[in-house]
C-alpha cells in the first residue's frame, strides 16, 4: 500500500462521510460546515491526481467564497432548524423510495463501471509535469477555451445582476 492508495481511501472516506452528513444533518449550519470538510477532502484528492491548481482553486472559491455565502444566508434567515409546519408532500413512503432510488443509481454506476476493464494512470513524468503546470492551464484557458472564458465572464455578470434584482426588498 503506497501513499497514493492510502491517501485516496482516506480522503475518499472523508468526502463520502461528510456528504452523508450534509444530507443527514438537521441543522443547516452543520450541513454547511460538513460540506466544507467534504470540499477539503476533495482538494486532497486533486492533489493526489497531480492537479494542484484545481485543489487550490477549490479551496479558495468553493470553501472560501461559496460556502461563506451560504453561511451568510443561513444566518440571515435564521434557518436553524428544519421547518416542520408545512406537511410534506413526499411522505415517509416517498423517503424510502427516494433512498432506494439513490442506492439504485449508485449501484448502477458502480456496476456499469465494473464492466469496464481497469484503466491505469500513466506515470510519465513529462505528462505529469504538463498537467500540473499552472502556466499550461492558463494558456489553455486563454487561448483554446477563450470563448468559454468570455462567456463565463458574462454569465457571472448576469448572475450578479440577477441576484441583486431578485433579492431586492420591494419593487
Amino acid at each position: 500500500m503506497d501513499l497514493n492508495s492510502i491517501g485516496f481511501f482516506v480522503f475518499g472516506a472523508v468526502a463520502v462521510l461528510a456528504s452523508l452528513g450534509v444530507i443527514g444533518q438537521r441543522n443547516p449550519m452543520h450541513s454547511v460546515m460538513l460540506l466544507i470538510v467534504s470540499f477539503g477532502a476533495l482538494a486532497g484528492l486533486y492533489i493526489l491526481l497531480d492537479a494542484p491548481f484545481s485543489a487550490v482553486t477549490q479551496i479558495i472559491i468553493y470553501a472560501g467564497a461559496i460556502m461563506v455565502l451560504f453561511l451568510f444566508v443561513v444566518m440571515l434567515l435564521n434557518a436553524h432548524t428544519e421547518a416542520d409546519s408545512v406537511p410534506a408532500i413526499l411522505g415517509p413512503r416517498g423517503m424510502q423510495i427516494g433512498a432506494l432510488l439513490s442506492i439504485l443509481l449508485a449501484g448502477e454506476i458502480v456496476w456499469g463501471l465494473s464492466r469496464l476493464g481497469l484503466t491505469w494512470f500513466g506515470n510519465d513524468p513529462a505528462t505529469i509535469a504538463n498537467i500540473s503546470s499552472v502556466s499550461r492551464i492558463g494558456l489553455a484557458i486563454f487561448t483554446t477555451h477563450a470563448f468559454a472564458f468570455e462567456v463565463t465572464s458574462i454569465l457571472i455578470l448576469v448572475s450578479m445582476v440577477g441576484a441583486v434584482v431578485i433579492a431586492r426588498r420591494g419593487h
Partner: protein, 723 residues
C-alpha cells in the same frame, strides 16, 4: 319524335310544379289535359308510323346514357305493336281521366289542384317511359318513377294519417318487388351480356328451353317478383286495397288502367325470355289464378265501394297473369286493354257516386241512386256487364280468350278456377250495382262539410274500422228499416238545407245536400269509356265466331325474337323460339272440333257469368235479408273474408314486427346507442379519466418533480447499462 310522348306530360309537370300555385285552376288543369291530349296525338302518329314501317317498329336513341367500356346503355325509346297499344291506352285513358279530374278535384285550393295535376302528369311521363323503353334500365327508370308517383298520389291528402301510411305501404311493398327486378336484370346482364330487349330476345332464342331450375328460370322468377309487387299479385298485393286512400281518379288511372299493368307488360315485353323458362311460367300462371280466386272471394263481402273495385282489379290482373303464364301473351295484353276501359269506367263511376253523396263510400249507406244519377248509372251498368263477361261487350272477348287458351293448352284446373272466378266476378260486381243504385235510399243527407279530403276519409274510416265484427251483417237489415224512417225525415231536412246552402254561396253548393249527377267533364269521360267498354272488344273477335282476331295478329311481332343485333331490324323471323301464341289462324280455326270446343267453353263462361248475376239478383235485389242470414250462419267464413284472410295481420306479425323489434332492440339500443355512442362517449370518458389521473402529477411540489426526474434518469441509465 318518340321523345315527345313522355316529354309533353313532363313539361306539364314542370309548369304545374313551378308555377302552379300562382295559376288559376282552369289554367293548371288545362295545361295538364292539353299535355296528355298532345301526347295522345303524338302517340297516334307514332303508331301509324310504326305500323307502316317494315319491321313494325320505330326506335329512337335519345342520348348515350351509360357508356362504360363495353357496357353501353343508351336512353332508347321504341315503338312496336305492344308498346303502341300501351301508349295509346295510357295517353288515351289518361287524357279522359285528366278531364274527369278537373271537375272531381274542383273543391281543392289552387295550389293543391296544381300539385295534383303535376303529379298526375309526372306519373304519365314515367309510365310512358316505362312502356317505351327499349332496354331494361330505361324501363326501370319508368318502373321506379311510377312507384314514386303512386306514393305521392296515394298520399295526396297526406295530412290524414291513413293516407300517408297507405302511400308508404305501397312504396315499401313495391320496393321489395323492385329488389327482385334489379336482381333479375343483373342476372340477365351477366348471362346475356346485354340489357336491350331485342338483343336479349335474340340471344336467348338460340338457347335451349330450360326445364329445370337454371339461370333463365331464376332471372325470370326474380323479374316476376318485381311484377307481383307492381301488379299486386300474391304475395305483394297488400298495398292495393289500402291505395284507395288516394283520390278516385288516381285509383282509376294508376291502380286500374296503367301502373298495375306494368308487370303484365314487362312479361309480354320479355315473352321470348319467359318462354324459355317453363317453370317460371307455371309459377306465373299458378299465382295469377290463385290471386284471382282469392281476391274474388274477398271482394264478395267488402262494404266499401272502392275496395270492391280494388279487389276486382287484383282479380282481373290475376287473369292477365294466368294468360301470360300459359303462353297466351296476346290474350293477356288484350285483357289488359279491355280491362283498362271498364275498370277506369267503374272507378270513375264510383267517383261520381261518392262525389254526389259528398264523400260516402260505404255501400250499405247507398241505394236507390238509379233515378237520381242517370248518366252515372247507365255507364256504370255498361262497365259492370263488361267486367262480368257478357257478350258482346269487351270483357267477354278478352276473358274468353284467356279461358280458351288455358283450357286448350291443357291446364284444365286453372281453367276451372278461372270459370269459378268469373262467376264470383259477376256476383260481386252486380252486388255492388244493386246495393248502390237499386233498392231504397239509405244514405243520410250530407251536412255540407268543408273539404272533400275530410269527407272521403271519414267515410273511409267508417268502412275501414267497421270489419272484424260480425254484427255488421245482422245490423244490415235492421239498419235498413231504421234508415228508411230516417231518410223521410232527412228528405224534409235536405230541402231546407238546399235553401240555406244556395243562400250561403259557393263552397257548400258543390257538395250540398242535393244529389246531382256528374258534371259535364266527368260525364264526358264516363260516356267515352262506356262506349269503349262496349265496342273495344271487337278487335279481338276469335275465329270461332267468324272474326279474324285482329289484335292477336297485330301483337304477334312483339312476342318474337329478331335474329339481328341492336339497332337494326331484319324481318320478323319465325324461329322456333317464337312465343307460341295461337295467332296463326291455323291453330285457331283448324277443324271444326276446335271451334266446337271453343263454343262450348264460351257457353260455360257465359253461363257462369249469368249464374253470378242471378245470385246477385236474388241476394241483393230481391231478398236482402237472405244475404244477412247467410252471413250470420257462415259467420266464421264471413269474418275471414271480411278481414281479407288476415294477410295484413300475418305480414305484420311475421315480418313487420320482428323487423321493428329487431331494429329497436338490437340495432338501435344495441349497436347505435351501445356500441357507437358508447365508443364515441367512451373515447371522451377515457380521455377525461386519463387526464384526471395524469393531472395528479402536477403537485406543485418541486421535490416531486425532482424525484420523477431522478427516477427517469435512473431508469434510462439502467436501460442503457442492460443493453
Amino acid at each position: 319524335m318518340l321523345l315527345l310522348i313522355p316529354l309533353l306530360p313532363l313539361a306539364g309537370f314542370l309548369i304545374n310544379t313551378l308555377l302552379g300555385r300562382r295559376l288559376p285552376k282552369t289554367v293548371s288543369g288545362g295545361v295538364a289535359c292539353l299535355a296528355m291530349i298532345g301526347a295522345f296525338a303524338v302517340s297516334v302518329m307514332a303508331s301509324l308510323g310504326a305500323s307502316a314501317s317494315a319491321t313494325h317498329a320505330i326506335q329512337q336513341t335519345v342520348f348515350r346514357w351509360i357508356p362504360s367500356g363495353d357496357f353501353q346503355i343508351p336512353f332508347a325509346l321504341r315503338v312496336d305493336p305492344l308498346s303502341t297499344l300501351m301508349i295509346l291506352v295510357v295517353t288515351g285513358i289518361g287524357s279522359l281521366i285528366h278531364i274527369y279530374s278537373t271537375a272531381y278535384m274542383h273543391e281543392e285550393t289552387d295550389s293543391e289542384y296544381a300539385r295534383y295535376f303535376s303529379y298526375l302528369n309526372l306519373f304519365a311521363a314515367f309510365m310512358l317511359i316505362l312502356v317505351l323503353g327499349a332496354n331494361f334500365p330505361v324501363m326501370f327508370v319508368g318502373w321506379e318513377g311510377v312507384g314514386l308517383c303512386s306514393y305521392l298520389l296515394i298520399g295526396f291528402w297526406f295530412k290524414k294519417k291513413s293516407a300517408g301510411d297507405a302511400g308508404k305501404k305501397a312504396f315499401i311493398v313495391n320496393r321489395v318487388g323492385d329488389f327482385g327486378f334489379i336482381l333479375g336484370m343483373l342476372l340477365i346482364f351477366v348471362t346475356f351480356g346485354s340489357l336491350d330487349f331485342q338483343e336479349v330476345a335474340s340471344r336467348v332464342a338460340g338457347v335451349a328451353v330450360e326445364h329445370s331450375m337454371g339461370t333463365i328460370t331464376i332471372a325470370t322468377l326474380l323479374l316476376f317478383l318485381g311484377a307481383t309487387g307492381k301488379s299486386a299479385q300474391i304475395p305483394l298485393y297488400v298495398w292495393l286495397p289500402d291505395a284507395m286512400e288516394g283520390p278516385t281518379p288516381v285509383s282509376a288511372l294508376i291502380h286500374a288502367a296503367t301502373m298495375v299493368t306494368a308487370g303484365v307488360y314487362m312479361i309480354g315485353r320479355n315473352a321470348v325470355l319467359f318462354q324459355h323458362a317453363p317453370m317460371t311460367l307455371a309459377v306465373v300462371a299458378g299465382i295469377g289464378t290463385a290471386t284471382a280466386l282469392m281476391a274474388g272471394t274477398i271482394g264478395l263481402v267488402q262494404n266499401d265501394i272502392k275496395r270492391v273495385l280494388a279487389y276486382s282489379t287484383v282479380s282481373q290482373l290475376g287473369y292477365m297473369f294466368l294468360a301470360m303464364g300459359v303462353g297466351a301473351y296476346a290474350a293477356g295484353i288484350f285483357h289488359l286493354y279491355t280491362h283498362a276501359f271498364f275498370k277506369a269506367l267503374l272507378f270513375l263511376g264510383s267517383g261520381a257516386v261518392i262525389h254526389a253523396l259528398a264523400g260516402e263510400q260505404d255501400m250499405r249507406n247507398m241505394g236507390g241512386l238509379r233515378q237520381a244519377l242517370p248518366i252515372t248509372f247507365w255507364t256504370f251498368l255498361a262497365g259492370t256487364v263488361a267486367i262480368a263477361g257478357i257478350p258482346p261487350l269487351a270483357g267477354f272477348f278478352s276473358k274468353d280468350e284467356i279461358l280458351f287458351n288455358a283450357y286448350s293448352k291443357g291446364h284444365e284446373l286453372l281453367w276451372a278456377i278461372g270459370v269459378l272466378t268469373a262467376l264470383l266476378t259477376a256476383t260481386y260486381m252486380f252486388r255492388l250495382l244493386f246495393l248502390t243504385f237499386f233498392g231504397e235510399r239509405r244514405h243520410e243527407a250530407p251536412a255540407a262539410p268543408a273539404h272533400p279530403e275530410e269527407e272521403e276519409p271519414a267515410a273511409q274510416h267508417g268502412a275501414h274500422r267497421a270489419p272484424s265484427t260480425a254484427h255488421d251483417a245482422p245490423a244490415h237489415g235492421a239498419l235498413g228499416t231504421a234508415h228508411d224512417a230516417l231518410s223521410t225525415a232527412h228528405d224534409a231536412l235536405s230541402t231546407a238545407h238546399d235553401a240555406l246552402s244556395t243562400a250561403h254561396g259557393a263552397p257548400s253548393t258543390a257538395h250540398g245536400s242535393h244529389l246531382h249527377d256528374a258534371p259535364p267533364a266527368m260525364a264526358f269521360a264516363l260516356v267515352v269509356l262506356a262506349i269503349g267498354s262496349v265496342f273495344a272488344g271487337f278487335v279481338g273477335i276469335p275465329a270461332a265466331m267468324g272474326g279474324s282476331n285482329r289484335i292477336e295478329h297485330f301483337l304477334e311481332p312483339s312476342f318474337e325474337a329478331h335474329a339481328t343485333a341492336v339497332g337494326e331490324f331484319g324481318p320478323a323471323v319465325e324461329t322456333q323460339a317464337a312465343a307460341p301464341n295461337e295467332g296463326a289462324p291455323g291453330a285457331h280455326g283448324e277443324g271444326s272440333e276446335d271451334h266446337d270446343t271453343e263454343w262450348m267453353l264460351m257457353g260455360v263462361s257465359v253461363g257462369a257469368a249469368a249464374a253470378g248475376i242471378v245470385i246477385a239478383f236474388y241476394f241483393w235485389y230481391r231478398n236482402r235479408g237472405a244475404a244477412d242470414r247467410m252471413a250470420r250462419t257462415l259467420s266464421p267464413i264471413y269474418t275471414l273474408l271480411l278481414n281479407k284472410y288476415y294477410v295484413d295481420e300475418l305480414y305484420d306479425a311475421t315480418i313487420v314486427h320482428p323487423i321493428e323489434n329487431g331494429s329497436t332492440v338490437a340495432l338501435w339500443r344495441g349497436v347505435d346507442v351501445g356500441l357507437i355512442d358508447g365508443a364515441v362517449n367512451g373515447v371522451g370518458a377515457l380521455v377525461r379519466g386519463t387526464s384526471s389521473g395524469l393531472r395528479r402529477l402536477q403537485t406543485g411540489s418541486i421535490r416531486t418533480y425532482a424525484a420523477s426526474l431522478f427516477a427517469g434518469a435512473v431508469l434510462i441509465l439502467g436501460w442503457y447499462l442492460l443493453r
